[in-house]
Amino acid sequence: MGSHTTESSFRVIGTRPIRHDGVEKVTGRAKYGADYYVAGMLHGKVLRSPHAHARIKSIDFSRALALPGVKAVVTGKDLPEGENKTVPLGEMTVNPRYLGQNILARDKVLYYGHAVAAVAAISPHIAEQALELIEVDYEVLPPVLSVEQAMAEGAPILHPDLRNEELGDVPTNVAKHVVLTRGDVEAGFREAHFIVEREFRTSMVHQGYIEPHNALAIYNADGKATIYCSTQGPFEVRGMSAAVLGLPVGSIKVVPAEIGGGFGGKTTVYLEPLALLLAMKTGQPVKMVMTRSEVLRATGPTSGSLIRVKMGCTKEGKITAAKIWMAYEAGAFPGSPVGAATMTVLAPYAIPNVQIDGYDVVVNKPKTAAYRAPGATNAAFAAETVIDELAELCGIDPLDIRILNGAREGTPHPAGPPYRRIGFIETCEAIKASEHYRSNLEGPNRGRGVASGFWFNAGMQSAAVVNIHLDGTASVVTGSPDIGGTRAACAMIAAEVLGLNVEDVRPVVTDTDSIGHTDVTGGSRVTFATGMAVFRAAEDALAQLKERAAKLWECKVEEVEFRDGKFYCKTNNATPLSVSELAKRLPRLGGPVTGRATVNARGVGPSFATCCIDVEVDPETGRVQILRCTVAQDAGRAIHPAYVEGQMQGGTAQGIGWALNEEYIYDSDGHLMNSTLLDYRMPTCPDLPMIETIIVEVPNPGHPLGVRGVGEVSIVPPPAAIANAVYRAVGVRMTELPMSPARLWKAIAQKESTRSGLGRAQHG
């Protein structure tokens, strides 16, 4: 830690400069994936399965291939089968066989919208026409549409070769069973005065990024390929495309385009290997862009889930035991975030006796992808509702029960070592002290709810280069696509270290050949890990600049001091030089200066958020209006507070959507019934209040600037906070997401009828 990192001396960090990518975005000049055009480009389209579960008996595409303008048709047979095992890819793991089968179905289609074939043609119209000429003969199989169906005895099996360690050599739809235990839950329940037990359900929901997936692939005669695409992880696209196509990783260059939202959903591949496969087959560049309906049917979502929670506490509200059973829909291939769910569900609390069972279950729905704090929101909806109920039984404030049981420095994390310094309690205290929480909420059918959430955040690998230009400006080059304002954060960190104006630092996100391996933009890791690399690269540049100054002043490098943006010589009285004054002299002092650093970042600091929401319910229609919402989140250190607030608001908005209206609706045959944004109802601006934010700063001891990730945790609390608010408004506990009007109306009507029923019984 250098002297410039003590709080009082920050010059740039903590300010709110205009983002460097802003002008290009608001003027429409920023280049997104679908904006790329190259000479001789073909257009690719995908034929998708009309069935949720079927065997492919045959595919006849001869008529499609004969259509003038069609250049190639590919099916699953054109992909190598791929190894059926998990292989490391950066810090992630993938199963090349499953990944390939998701890109193009092989023997079976496993969900409605599963890709079956792809066509490249000279225009999108012709490619679409060609799809209609492909004849696929299916043997339709019964679909498996819920975790209960999938886990039931005699359930139709999605993958005949899928096994789990517990069951041994038996076909199953359960890919994994994870268990976390501490203490003795039964003993813990015996100590409890109050016990609450409830079952919760949530539906699949989509990340809802506005920009659909896209890819433009170019394959040259020398076997070298370039892919332009919208992605959170260019290095993952490179690795996964190579794995799926059986190509050497180094033969592919991936250029990340400007990105129109990802939220975790753009950390895997769909079109990229397909476009490349078609480009290899035709020798021409191939561009592919999904429609909205394709995005909803065949990409993203995160898991629907079934969760049972039993929790007990003393009269005073001390939680003595928690037992949780959770099954998550993985979609068509293994890999739901249930592992993360088991580790996050109780993470804000110190609970002595815990048993958590999690099941990763395949169903005939799209393969799930990461979504902002994957797994945590479903789980928190369940646990945070039960904690609210315990607080009510104990007659204590719902924030107080959280503070009473809250995790602190030294509390063992459910799945690992004790926490270092964390800021959970501080987020609860911040809400408790807020004007919002202290205000009175008046009026009928109104209620206030609170809930908290946890997310790990991630470290992983990043590289950064800082170039000092001869005019004293600088560029910061990284490989982290910017989905949340991280370019500004990286520029600010470099500007802080180098004593430059942030406007004089240009942040650049580059391609996979132009920077060292950088893991995905995900896990809230960019400002933390890439920021750490930038910090060190800037320090490296600074050290080199000091050497040049020493050379100029003919003194020892230790005698050069950098303070307030200027180099001084401690031993002679040479005129101090600013970075730009020194930069001008670089050509005669040994040439350009480039600082660089790579990290495999350790010292990740988890994030906590606590949210307070006021609602008004129309009891006649079950409609919920959000009146007010405040979220407090521990950022560690807010490099650019406006973008931290933006992340907090964005996550909260998504959490509100998930709570109220977003859900995948399937018919009994497994067809997705709402694959448009008209019927997949994300909140619009009029559905949301101005989301008030309180940034809590408990510096992360593992980071030179105290940074924790901020991108994800704010999505976790809102569904539970809203459920708790609805309970206070109309007296019903909602245990299913979304709390859509029809569902809430029914719950209210049922409550009314049991109440009047009871009334009659008493009279009779």
Binding site: H125, E128, Q129, T291, S293, E620, T621, R623, L660, N661, I665, M673, N674, L677, L678, D679, R681, P683, T684, P686, D687, S740, P741, A742, W745, K746
Partner: protein, 291 residues
Amino acid sequence: MHEFTYVAPSSVEEIVQFLAQHREKARPFCGGTDILVQMRSGVRRPSYLLDVKTAPETRLFEFDPAKGLRIGAAVPCADVSADPAVRRYYPGLAEAANLIGSVQIRNRASLGGNLANASPAADTVPALIALGAKAVLRSVQGQREVPVEGFVTAPGRTILNADEVITEFVIPPPQRGGADAYLRFVPRNEMDIAVAGVGVFVKMEGQRCVEARIVLGAVGPTQIVASEAMAYLRGRTLNEGVVSHAAELAAQAASPIDDVRGTREFRRHLVAVLTRRSLLAAAKRAQANQS
């Protein structure tokens, strides 16, 4: 989306000539907020899109207290809901037009398109029927004026012939003691399609209702005129009990389906809620219109 030809006629005469020649192959369109979506999803594949709004007659907008309101079929909903005369004398129509989609959609979407698209959930159609509006249709054979009620015969089907175009709507003059209202239920605050909608018109003499019209949307294959509820209200004093009973009768008249937007049970319940609320709103307005 398939390839098609865009045609911009400069008069209704040109439109009807073109339609007479190409019939089903050509579709008149206005805002395109329905038909372009349908073409993109492959549901409709016209060879020609004929832009009605380029013919000036379809943009007419005239109000006369004695003759009533004439609105060109291509006038965007944003203009309809912002018009002072519509807001003053036909507030229910203004409400309905103001609910369609979002600002961007309302700047394109037309009343003609809303009706001709023949969706059971179309918002302005119950409001127009409640007002007793008529549609003016033109073809090379000439002109006919038909009530909006009965125009839609099934989802996506109307009495419009392949060579006909809607040119304008004619709405009867405002009546002393009369007023309309339109309410719908959607889960979000905008960009949504009615789960149920109710358009009403009532005419009051003192506390007494002398005429009532109740039209239900999104709860049957076409808009439904709740005649029993209407007959029940005639001559009665509009108190809570009477209005609630009428609302129950209206709910019975509905024949909703289960779909992604709502269940049968929920929709029927919503009809009662919306009928009650819209009757009360219209009655309040009507009373204010008696002097």
